[in-house]
Amino acid sequence: MRNIMALGLAVALLGSPALAVTVGAKAPTFTASDENGQKHKLSEYKGKYVVLEWTNHGCPFVVSHYKKGKMQKVQEKWTQKGVQWLRVISSAPGKQGYCSAAESKETSKEKGVKATATFLDPEGSLGQSYGAKTTPHMFVIDPKGTLIYAGAIDNAPREDDAVKKNENGEAFVNYVDQALQESMVDKKKVSIPSTASYGCGVKYK
């Protein structure tokens, strides 16, 4: 079984076409390296909630979310409850957002990032396997390994910091916060499992 899994992972990382990522199905397995060069598999997080956050520190949408501590606040809230919050940088070398492990650590420290880890994915294979298109692009996986949310961070792509309601006059919703609240705390089905993500394009190779 392990050998078949390993083969599957190897194939996934060799740039095969993007695997289907369907909410309600098992989230794609992966092996990714963090800022300390440590490798992590999705399976090591079994039994815990996992959030994947695609990021690029130069993208204006990401800048806006981090500038006033909004993203960090949500990261902290949920990592304190045991959620594994994993940031992913899939920018190719030479493209905006790409950074070395040392630079990434420095940026994380500077911006007060409260995530569990940051994965460096310059080949873009992790991004491709999840179909990550924007920064930010969010995925929430439950303790059984099922994808329970995929899409935008919130319903305010044009959010004006001072305004709680977005331009449609709806109440502000952070979809990740809501999905975790509903699934982890309230123990019920996620009411909005999928939305269209917004942001800058991931700077793939």
Binding site: C59, K95, G131, K133, T134, A150, R158, E167, S194, Y204
Partner: protein, 275 residues
């Protein structure tokens, strides 16, 4: 009588004045009126004209995999109402693994504004808009500006604003057309893709191409090849379905852009999916 004659040239100048506040160098915006005046209860077509620096682009109403369309927030005199933005046909903008929908070089968004019946003739009104956009190259930069124009209110049917006639003429050429009566569109959804078959009633040229731009996100894999296949008087497109496509999708809605015999035409379609 004399007074009126003297005022006329000033009024005409006023109608063409479009102030663009400081904006990032990638994008220049101006507000233009198609007509030289507005009648009480009448419609004035206003154009938000974007000039985009070479190499950069703005986005369509569905930007595709990433990006964000420009937004217009109007400040108008009392009881003016705003119609729908008329989006020109977009082009495909590809980057590694992704595809967006948008515009290069120049773009004109035409918006009809309706004046209230009780508007008093013989004075100027000020139409104002805050325009926000995301302009991208390999990186993206947000921008915004305030644009205004002043236009006289006149009882008579408005004449075209001669300064802007050419801009609006060219802008309208890029707007979607009605699907010709003789055309038939069939859409179906399989396990992997949508299939769009279009019967046009006339033979397509050897160099004809077509592309589909979905109205809603999470419909198709925007970056996938659409496998355009001509066959006599008809053609088909295979549109890979999005991973996030809703399970209960009933129709395929979007813009079909066809390039044939040297001209490009966009047609809105909303096809019920057959089984």
């Amino acid at each position: 009588m004399k007074k009126r004659i003297l005022l006329f040239p000033l009024l005409l100048l006023g109608a063409t004045t479009a102030l663009a506040a400081a904006s990032p160098q990638q994008v220049k915006v101006e507000l233009l009126a198609e007509q030289a005046s507005v009648q009480p209860g009448g419609i004035v077509n206003v154009g938000v004209r974007f000039k985009i620096k070479k190499g950069w682009h703005l986005y369509w109403q569905n930007p595709g995999d990433s990006g964000q369309p420009p937004s217009i927030t109007w400040s108008l005199p009392d009881d003016f109402t705003v119609g729908e933005i008329q989006w020109p046909n977009p082009q495909r903008l590809e980057s590694p693994k992704l595809a967006d929908y948008g515009y290069k070089n120049e773009m004109l968004l035409i918006v009809p504004l309706k004046a209230p019946d009780k508007l008093k003739p013989g004075h100027m009104v000020r139409l104002s808009a805050k325009v926000r956009w995301l302009v991208c190259q390999e990186i993206c930069l947000p921008g915004d500006t305030q644009v205004n124009l002043r236009i006289p209110v006149r009882k008579r049917v408005p004449a075209p604003n001669s300064h802007n006639e050419y801009i609006f003429k060219m802008g309208r050429k890029n707007l979607p057309s009605d699907l010709p009566e003789s055309w038939h569109v069939y859409a179906s959804l399989g396990a992997k893709e949508f299939r769009l078959a279009v019967e046009t009633g006339s033979t397509l040229s050897k160099t004809a191409t077509a592309a589909f731009f979905p109205l809603h996100p999470n419909t198709i894999e925007n970056a996938a090849n659409q496998a355009f296949k001509p066959s006599g008087t008809s053609f088909s497109l295979s549109l890979k379905r999005s991973d996030q496509l809703a399970a209960d999708v009933k129709n395929l809605e979007g813009l079909l852009v066809v390039n044939d015999k040297g001209s490009e035409k966009g047609y809105w379609i909303n096809a019920l999916l057959s089984q």
